[in-house]
Symmetry: C2
Subunit: 87 residues, 2 copies
Amino acid sequence: MCYRDAPINREYNSHCRCVQVESRIIPPDSLRSIKLVPEGPHCPHTEVIAGLSSGERVCLNPQSSWVKKLVKFVLDKQMQRPPKTQA
Amino acid sequence: MCYRDAPINREYNSHCRCVQVESRIIPPDSLRSIKLVPEGPHCPHTEVIAGLSSGERVCLNPQSSWVKKLVKFVLDKQMQRPPKTQA
């Protein structure tokens, strides 16, 4: 188990959410979401939480080059028409 | 309103979550989380949802250079000791 359940506040917990980080590489096609939680008073390091197609949530190491590449891949994959911009 | 509430599934909605994207630049100190949701059968484009310190959730344009920079900033900010790796 590497993701703490029962958060006090879903958006901003009072503690780190990740107990351990996953060392396996996550294939992009099993990825449903990536959440980046910057360091702050609640936790001294940035946390990266991946939601998988299996429903599982795993913590990734933000320092891993493959994690940075995965994030870049998701952002750069955006080749569709630009979304509407709020007026 | 640029974030749809009442998702069918918190991890993987059956539709796009963002109706509009925010054009204002989000200062890093008001940022609590950034969630990247890759395109898929539910939505034809990648979505980037920022959680703010105010509790507000806003959708950002993944094609904006400042959004890419913000994501990079959060990942590169990780200067602490590496988290434990799962055995």
